[in-house]
Amino acid sequence: MLLVVVTGVAAQRPESQVVATWGGDEVYQVLPLGAIPAIDEPEFVAGEAADAQMKLGEPVLGVVVGDTARAYSLWQLDHHELVNDEIGGTAIAATW
């Protein structure tokens, strides 16, 4: 779900440094490592608690692994971009 969210920050920071070139294309250091905090120990809610925190039209990233369906609010992921998660024994990274 490439969303280039950092690009929104980058566009406001024209002083961003080119720190490397990969595959002929520039790499910009826009923010320090970890400045946008990934979620390493995600917690989940379901049922009424889930409805209480979500709007009906809120965009989500949804994934199904085995019997487990899991959703991540994209509004929330705006602030984190990455969730280091585990579903049914499978370690996954949800990225936005």
Binding site: L2, V6, T7, V45, A46, W75, H80, L82, N84
Partner: protein
């Protein structure tokens, strides 16, 4: 995008590196400090360079549609109230794009057009909502392999390839960003 974090004997924990490459962010794992593209799952720099994470199918839809079709779903708990996107202005401004070749291929369509993109092998396809909603699905052929892209009952868009209808990951992306990764992408926009 959703990736398996385990590759061989290693399970990685990713951080947001703060680096941008081809208009998208770079992940850095804590274990080896390798840099990974979150668009392709490819390790671009560091000890793991050349490795590739396995992408897993996922969908982007609304909470209402997702819970309708997956009533037992759980959802990432919010530790604080988040009621909208912090990037709304960025999303809606047609002129604000990335740092990198923002004009790339924008003669094909405006850079801030949201597309559904799928890639396999050396091939890629980008489909607009207009094209998808017109016929309910898009059928195409990439390098001799049939591809079907369709919107499912949960509102999410999925892609399937070949006779076996193998599901391949679909990404929601701005055209300017997708095309900087996949400049030769086949476009279906009507």
């Amino acid at each position: 995008m959703v990736y398996a974090r385990t590759l061989g004997a290693n399970t990685y924990t990713f951080q947001v590196s703060g680096k941008l490459w081809r208009n998208s962010f770079i992940m850095e794992d804590r274990e080896t400090s390798t840099s990974w593209s979150h668009v392709t799952g490819r390790a671009l720099d560091g000890p793991g360079r050349g490795a590739r994470l396995r992408a897993m199918p996922s969908v982007q839809t609304t909470w209402a549609e997702w819970k309708e079709t997956h009533p037992k779903t759980d959802v990432l708990k919010k530790s604080e109230e988040v009621l909208s996107s912090r990037y709304e202005k960025y999303f809606s401004d047609p002129d604000r794009m990335g740092l990198f070749r923002a004009q790339w291929l924008t003669e094909k369509m405006p850079g801030k057009t949201l597309i559904w993109g799928a890639a396999f092998g050396t091939h890629a396809i980008a489909v607009t909502d207009d094209a998808l909603d017109k016929g309910g699905e898009v059928r195409a052929e990439l390098g001799g392999t049939p591809v079907e892209i369709e919107r499912g009952p949960d509102g999410g868009v999925r892609a399937f390839t070949g006779e076996e209808r193998e599901e391949i990951p679909v990404t929601r992306a701005f055209w300017f960003a997708w095309s900087s990764f996949y400049p030769n992408t086949q476009v279906v926009d009507q």
